[in-house]
C-alpha cells in the first residue's frame, strides 16, 4: 500500500499540515518541533528543490530514528551550499567525503557502529544524481550487494548542477545541458541513453527501494519512515527540480515535481526485495507538453515551431511508464 491519503477533510492529507487532522495524522514538516536538519542561511538558489527535499527526508529520518542518525554526504550542490567553511547549515551529525564515495563512507560508518555495538544509531548516505548514478555508482552497487545497513538517498535534479549543469546519467532525453547543447539535428540529450537507478537498485534485490518527489511530502515522509523500519541496504530516489539548471521559475519547483508525476514521466512507486509493491496513481493526468513548456532546458522543443515529433517521443516514454507501472489504475503490467 502506498501512503493512503486521508479523505474529505477539506484538503485531506494533500497539504503539509491540516488543522482538522489529529496531531498523529500530521506530517513531520508541519510540526513546530521538526529538526530542521538543514537550517537557515544556506546558499541554495531561490526555490531550490534539493534543499527542500533534503530537509523533508532527513527530518523524517530523524523522527523515525529518534534522532539517532549519522549522514554521509557526497560533493554536489547539497554539500557546497550548506558548508562554506567555516559555516554549516547542518543541525545533525553530518560528514562530507568526496564526490564519488558517500555510499562507501556510509558503509564504513555502519561497520564501525556495528563493531562498537551501537545498532541504535542509523546511517544515511546521500548524493546528487551525478554522485549516485555516475561516479558514485560502484560504491553504491557494492553497498547494495553487501546489503550494508545504510539508507541511500539520491536527490535527482537530472544533471551536475554544482559544476555548471553538465549532463549526468540521469539527464532526460532532449534536455539541454552545458554538455548536451541545443544544437544540431538532435538537440539536447540523446534518446536511449542514461540509467534508471531505482530499477538497477531493484535488480540488486535489496530490502527496499522507493521513488518520491518534493510535491508529495506525505508520501516522501512515509517512505523514509518505512525505509527506516528495514535493516540492510535501502534506496530512495527523490526528484528535486533545480530552477537554475532547468531554467524554471523558482516558484515552480513544487508544481513541476507534481507535473513530472502527473504526466507519468517520473513514476512514483515502492519495491521490496526487487518486486514493485505499490505505485502512486496519477490523479489528474497531464500531457508531457505542459511539463516541458515551462522549462528553458526544453525551449528548443517549442521554438520556432513546436517539435511535435520529439515531444511525441517524450510522451511515448510517459505512456510506457504508465502502462509498465500501472500509473492510472495501480495495476503494473
Amino acid at each position: 500500500m502506498p501512503f493512503q491519503p486521508i479523505k474529505f477533510y477539506q484538503t485531506g492529507s494533500f497539504v503539509v499540515g491540516n488543522r482538522l487532522l489529529s496531531e498523529d495524522q500530521r506530517s513531520v514538516q508541519s510540526s513546530q518541533a521538526r529538526t530542521n536538519s538543514l537550517t537557515l542561511g544556506h546558499r541554495a538558489c531561490q526555490g531550490c528543490g534539493e534543499a527542500l527535499g533534503a530537509r523533508y527526508a532527513l527530518d523524517a529520518a530523524m523522527r523515525a530514528t529518534d534522532n539517532q542518525m549519522v549522514v554521509a554526504n557526497a560533493t554536489g550542490c547539497l554539500e557546497v551550499f550548506t558548508t562554506p567553511f567555516p559555516e554549516t547549515s547542518w543541525q545533525i551529525p553530518w560528514i562530507h567525503s568526496l564526490f564519488g564515495n558517500s555510499a562507501a563512507v556510509g558503509t564504513g560508518i555502519a561497520a564501525a557502529l556495528r563493531s562498537k555495538g551501537r545498532q541504535d544509531i542509523r546511517v544515511v548516505a546521500q548524493a546528487g544524481d551525478g554522485g549516485t548514478v555516475d561516479i558514485g555508482f560502484g560504491p553504491l552497487s557494492g553497498m547494495f550487494e553487501r546489503n550494508d545497513d545504510v539508507l541511500f538517498i539520491c536527490y535527482d535534479n537530472e544533471a551536475y548542477m554544482n559544476t555548471g549543469v553538465q549532463r549526468s546519467g540521469a539527464t532526460p532525453p532532449a534536455a539541454r545541458t552545458a554538455t548536451t547543447d541545443a544544437v544540431g539535428p538532435h538537440p539536447g540529450e540523446d534518446f536511449g541513453k542514461g540509467k534508471n537507478l531505482p530499477l538497477i537498485a531493484m535488480a540488486h534485490e535489496i530490502p527496499y527501494v522507493a521513488t518520491a518527489t518534493v510535491a508529495e511530502l506525505r508520501d516522501l515522509e512515509y517512505k523514509v519512515e518505512k525505509a527506516m523500519s528495514f535493516h540492510g541496504a535501502r534506496y530512495i530516489h527523490v526528484l528535486v527540480p533545480c530552477p537554475l539548471g532547468w531554467g524554471s521559475a523558482p516558484s515552480d519547483t513544487i508544481r513541476l515535481s507534481r507535473m513530472a508525476k502527473e504526466t507519468g514521466l517520473f513514476p512514483v512507486f515502492e519495491a521490496e526485495g526487487g518486486e514493485v509493491t505499490s505505485v502512486s496513481n496519477i490523479r489528474h493526468q497531464l500531457p508531457v507538453e505542459e511539463y516541458l513548456r515551462p522549462q528553458r532546458r526544453y525551449q528548443h522543443l517549442f521554438r520556432p515551431q513546436p517539435d511535435t515529433e520529439t515531444i511525441g517521443r517524450i510522451q511515448a516514454i510517459a505512456d510506457k511508464n504508465i502502462s509498465r507501472f500501472g500509473l492510472l489504475n495501480g495495476e503494473p503490467k
Binding site: Q10, R19, Q29
Partner: protein
C-alpha cells in the same frame, strides 16, 4: 584556542548569512474577500463561520454568523443564496451548500437555546423601528447589540412581515420563525403589535425617539386591468397568501390560474394545490428562462403538479374560464401579441404581478423623496430627513429577506454612528479571492451533499416543510468542502514548502510570519498556498 589540525576558524552556523538580502519580491499574508461573502446581501462572513463549522465548533460558527444576521434558521430556508452562485467551488465541482449549513446552524442554535451577545452597557439612546419584517427585525437586533433601546411598531397581529404573511409554511415553518423572533425580543427589543403608524410626521413630532428606521415593506398587490365578466373570481396573491395565516382560506374552486412569473406566483400555485385544487396553472407572458422566479421554486412547483403556460397573457376572465392570448418574443425579448387565442378552464384567477409600497404614512413628512413608488435613501440608508432611515422592500433594490436583513444591518450601523455623533465607514474592500488565485490541487474531491425533500405525495396535500435539514455528519462534510478562499486556514503548506525555513509557525489559531532576514523571495509559498492567502509584492529598493 586549540584547534584541530588545519582548522583556522571556529565552526559557525549558516545563520550568519542573511539570505533575505537576495530578495526582489517579498511574500506577505493577506486576507482576501471570498466571493461568497462578497455576494451575500446580508454581508455575512461565510468563509469565517464555515471555518469554525469545519472543526465541528458549531457554536462559534453560529456566533460568527450572528454578527451579521439574526435569522440563520429562517435564512437557511428562504434565502435564494446568491453566495452559492458566486462560490469558487462551483468552478471545481459543485458549489458549497452554504445555505444548508446555515440551516443546520440555525436549527442547532434553537435546539440548544444559544443566545446572542448584547452590549455590556446601555447607551440610553432610543430608536424606533416601523415594521417588524426582516429588515426592521434586523435593524432592531443590531441596534440592541450596540446597546441602544429599541421599540418596534408593527401594524400586524404578529411580527415577521412577509416571512409570515407571504412565504408559505411548507418553506418556513412558523415555529422556526417565532423562535428566532422571540430570541430578538429576549435581548430586550420591544415589539408593539397592532400598532399601525398612519402619520409618520406626528410620530416624529413627538420626538420620543432619537432615530427612526422605516421598514414597512411593499405589501400591496399590484392590480393589472383584466377585463372580466361579473361572476369572474379574481384575487391578488399577496392577500391570498396572507389569508393563510389564521383566516379561513378563500374558496378557489378546483381549477386555479395564477398570473405572473415570480416567486410569489409559484407560492400561490403551490398553496392552491395544497388547498385541494386539481389544476394549478401558471400563466406567464415570457418563457421559462426569462422568468423572475428562481429555478428551484419552479422545479419544486412542477414536481408538485403545477402546470405552466408560457408565452400567454390573460385577455378576459369569465366564470369558469379565461381567454388567453398567445405571445411571441421579439428580437429584444419583449413579449408581443400574436392575435391567436385559446381558452383555459379556471374557477379563479390569482394575480401575482408584484407589490407596491404603501406610502400613505409619509404624506405629511417633508424631505422624503419617493421615485417609482419607492423611497430614496443615501449610501447610509438615510432618507432626505436627518435621522430618518429606511430599508427593505420599500427602498430600491432586490426584494428578498436577505436584502432586507442587510439593509437593516447597514442602517443600524449608521444609526449607531448618528446616535454617537460620529460617522460609520465600512472600511476598505479587500481584494477579491478569485478562483485563479487558488491552487486547487490540494483540495479533496468531494461532491455536494443535498438536503432531502419530503415525498411529493405529502407535498401536494400538506403544509409540512418540503426541504429537510442536514444531520451533523452531513453538515460537517459540507462545511469542509469550503476552500477558504483568500483566507488562511492553517494548512501548514507555506510552513512546509519553504526551502529556506523562512516561515515561522506561531501555533494553532495564531497563523504564521515570514522571516524576512532569510526569505529569498522564491514565491513557492505563494504558489502552493491552496487558498490564495499569500501575495508576492516587489521589494522597494
Amino acid at each position: 584556542m586549540e584547534r584541530p589540525f588545519a582548522i583556522t576558524l571556529e565552526v559557525g552556523s549558516s545563520r550568519h548569512n542573511k539570505t533575505g538580502t537576495w530578495r526582489v519580491e517579498r511574500p506577505v499574508y493577506v486576507d482576501r474577500l471570498p466571493p461568497c461573502n462578497d455576494a451575500c446581501p446580508a454581508g455575512e462572513n461565510i468563509q469565517g463561520w464555515l471555518y469554525h463549522a469545519e472543526s465541528g465548533d458549531y457554536e462559534s460558527a453560529w456566533r460568527k454568523l450572528m454578527e451579521d444576521n439574526p435569522l440563520p434558521a429562517v435564512m437557511g430556508r428562504v434565502c435564494y443564496h446568491p453566495c452559492q452562485t458566486a462560490c469558487n467551488r462551483g468552478k471545481l465541482d459543485e458549489e458549497v451548500g452554504i445555505n444548508s449549513v446555515e440551516h443546520f446552524l440555525g436549527d442547532i442554535a434553537l435546539d440548544k437555546g444559544w443566545m446572542p451577545e448584547t452590549a455590556a452597557t446601555d447607551t440610553g439612546r432610543t430608536a424606533l423601528i416601523i415594521g417588524a419584517g426582516p429588515s426592521g427585525l434586523s435593524a432592531a437586533y443590531h441596534l440592541r447589540r450596540l446597546g441602544h433601546t429599541v421599540t418596534i411598531y408593527e401594524a400586524g397581529a404578529n411580527p415577521g412581515g412577509m416571512m409570515r404573511y407571504g412565504i408559505p409554511k411548507y418553506r418556513l415553518p412558523r415555529e422556526v420563525l417565532d423562535a428566532e423572533i422571540r430570541r430578538i425580543e429576549a435581548m430586550g427589543v420591544e415589539i408593539v403589535l397592532n400598532h399601525k403608524v398612519d402619520d409618520l410626521a406626528a410620530v416624529l413630532a413627538e420626538k420620543r425617539f432619537d432615530a427612526v428606521f422605516l421598514a414597512i415593506g411593499a405589501e400591496i398587490g399590484k392590480r393589472a386591468y383584466v377585463p372580466a365578466g361579473e361572476s369572474a373570481r379574481i384575487l391578488d396573491a399577496v392577500s391570498f397568501l396572507h389569508s393563510m395565516e389564521g383566516q379561513a382560506p378563500p374558496l378557489l374552486g378546483r381549477r386555479v390560474a395564477i398570473y405572473g412569473g415570480g416567486n410569489t406566483a409559484m407560492d400561490a400555485a403551490r398553496t392552491a394545490k395544497r388547498l385541494g385544487a386539481t389544476d394549478a396553472v401558471v400563466v406567464y407572458r415570457r418563457t421559462r428562462d426569462r422568468m423572475p422566479a428562481h429555478d428551484v421554486e419552479v422545479e419544486e412547483a412542477v414536481e408538485e403538479g403545477v402546470e405552466m403556460r408560457w408565452l400567454s397573457t390573460v385577455k378576459h376572465a369569465d366564470a369558469g374560464k379565461l381567454l388567453l392570448e398567445k405571445m411571441t418574443l421579439d428580437e429584444k425579448g419583449m413579449p408581443t401579441p400574436t392575435g391567436e387565442f385559446e381558452e383555459l378552464e379556471a374557477d379563479s384567477l390569482i394575480l401575482a404581478l408584484g407589490q407596491e409600497v404603501d406610502l400613505e404614512l409619509l404624506r405629511n413628512v417633508d424631505g422624503v423623496v419617493a421615485t417609482d413608488g419607492v423611497v430614496q435613501v443615501d449610501r447610509n440608508m438615510m432618507t432626505g430627513v436627518p435621522g430618518l432611515f429606511a430599508g427593505g422592500d420599500m427602498v430600491p433594490g432586490e426584494r428578498t429577506v436577505t436584502v432586507g436583513v442587510g439593509h437593516g444591518k447597514l442602517a443600524a450601523r449608521n444609526i449607531d454612528a448618528w446616535l454617537r455623533g460620529t460617522s460609520f465607514s465600512k472600511g476598505g474592500r479587500p481584494e477579491l479571492a478569485d478562483f485563479d488565485l487558488l491552487n486547487t490541487w490540494y483540495y479533496s474531491d468531494a461532491p455536494q451533499t443535498v438536503r432531502a425533500k419530503l415525498d411529493v405525495a405529502r407535498r401536494r396535500s400538506t403544509f409540512d416543510e418540503v426541504v429537510q435539514g442536514l444531520d451533523e455528519s452531513n453538515a460537517l462534510f459540507e462545511a469542509r468542502r469550503c476552500l477558504s478562499c483568500g483566507n488562511c486556514f492553517e494548512c501548514d503548506n507555506c510552513y512546509g514548502v519553504c526551502p529556506d525555513n523562512s516561515v515561522i509557525k506561531l501555533g494553532p489559531g495564531l497563523r504564521y510570519e515570514f522571516d524576512y532576514d532569510y526569505c529569498k523571495g522564491c514565491g513557492i509559498c505563494a504558489q502552493e498556498c491552496p487558498c490564495g492567502a499569500i501575495k508576492m509584492v516587489p521589494e522597494s529598493i
